[in-house]
């Protein structure tokens, strides 16, 4: 076999390998650049009370930050699980759960929380700047921030099925107990 025959075969195998690797990926799954970086600060009105809440007032705590909207069907799917997460960890003094209401109408957001329940504060992202600061593509998206203010985990999509136990047992609990992830 001549040298250029071998080169052609190697090139073809390489191209097929690239296609195989590329086409097997989910085009919507874009790796986040924010994990390992400092969580951006923000403030905004509480969806239900209108009181201004600030991220800085929760410094030093483990924060679960969930971006949601009343018009989002997947947010409805995960909502009871989010309430369950808050119920499970709310007694830890270093645990805080926050919702960020994304591209929503105040009335619709209030209606959603009244219908499906609410046990933690929700902040309105009036101009969308909180979402942009967190590199949000859409909803739902969930971030977990450690006590040093570093984003340790990001999940795109609803917290349902096996993701629930992954989030609670492999991320939140170890962080609260001071263990390495």
């Amino acid at each position: 076999m001549k040298g250029w025959h071998v080169a052609t075969i190697v090139a073809l195998i390489g191209i097929i390998g690239l296609f195989y690797a590329g086409l097997g990926r989910d085009p919507r799954n874009i790796p986040t650049v924010l994990v390992g970086t400092a969580a951006p600060s923000f403030s905004g009105p509480n969806v239900q009370s209108g009181e201004i809440l600030s991220f800085d007032s929760y410094k030093g705590k483990i924060i679960v930050l969930n971006f949601w909207a009343s018009w989002c069907q997947e947010c409805r799917l995960e909502h009871q699980n989010l309430l369950a997460i808050n119920g499970e960890f709310r007694n830890y003094p270093d645990f805080v759960m926050l919702g960020i209401d994304y591209q929503d109408q105040p009335g619709d957001a209030n209606g959603f929380l009244n219908s499906f329940g609410s046990s933690y504060p929700h902040i309105r992202d009036i101009k969308g700047t909180i979402a942009i600061d967190y590199g949000v593509y859409g909803v739902p998206e969930t971030f977990i921030i450690d006590s040093k203010g570093i984003i340790r985990f990001k999940y795109v999509g609803p917290i349902i099925g096996p993701v629930y136990s992954q989030v609670t047992e492999k991320i939140i609990r170890p962080l609260l107990e001071g263990k390495e992830l």
Partner: protein, 157 residues
Amino acid sequence: MIKAIWVISFLLFFTHAGILPAEIRDETSLDARTRDVSKTLRCTVCQNESIWDSKADLAKQMREVVRERLAQGQSEEEIQAYFRSRYGDYILLEPRKSGMNWLLWAGPFVLFAVGGLILYLVVRRWVAQTPTTRMEDLPPLDDEHKKRIEEELKSFE
């Protein structure tokens, strides 16, 4: 009286002409820069469109962020760096010319050059392997073909 009206009109026109175009120029300058920067950023909802072209709410909010940052005096590079720090290189519609991205920029040209070289070498080999036809090797023309050639040549006269 008419003269006075003309003078006042003239003065009003030119005092406003001195102010209005400046305001418009400032506004359109910011608009144009917002458009230019927005065209370099990918909409994360309609992923094949820039945030300038996209109708998505998120794109509209991103355009507003671009405008505010330009108004604060940030450069195009600083604004792109901010969006890259949130979304990664993916947010740029045109990949940066650095690191592994050079593969994307140079790859097509390199492949074109290599392909062209291979084609040239193959064709040159084919030409070298094809025996050249000498006149003496050709079979003689028969009478029928000779007659036909002569007739066709006559038709040109």
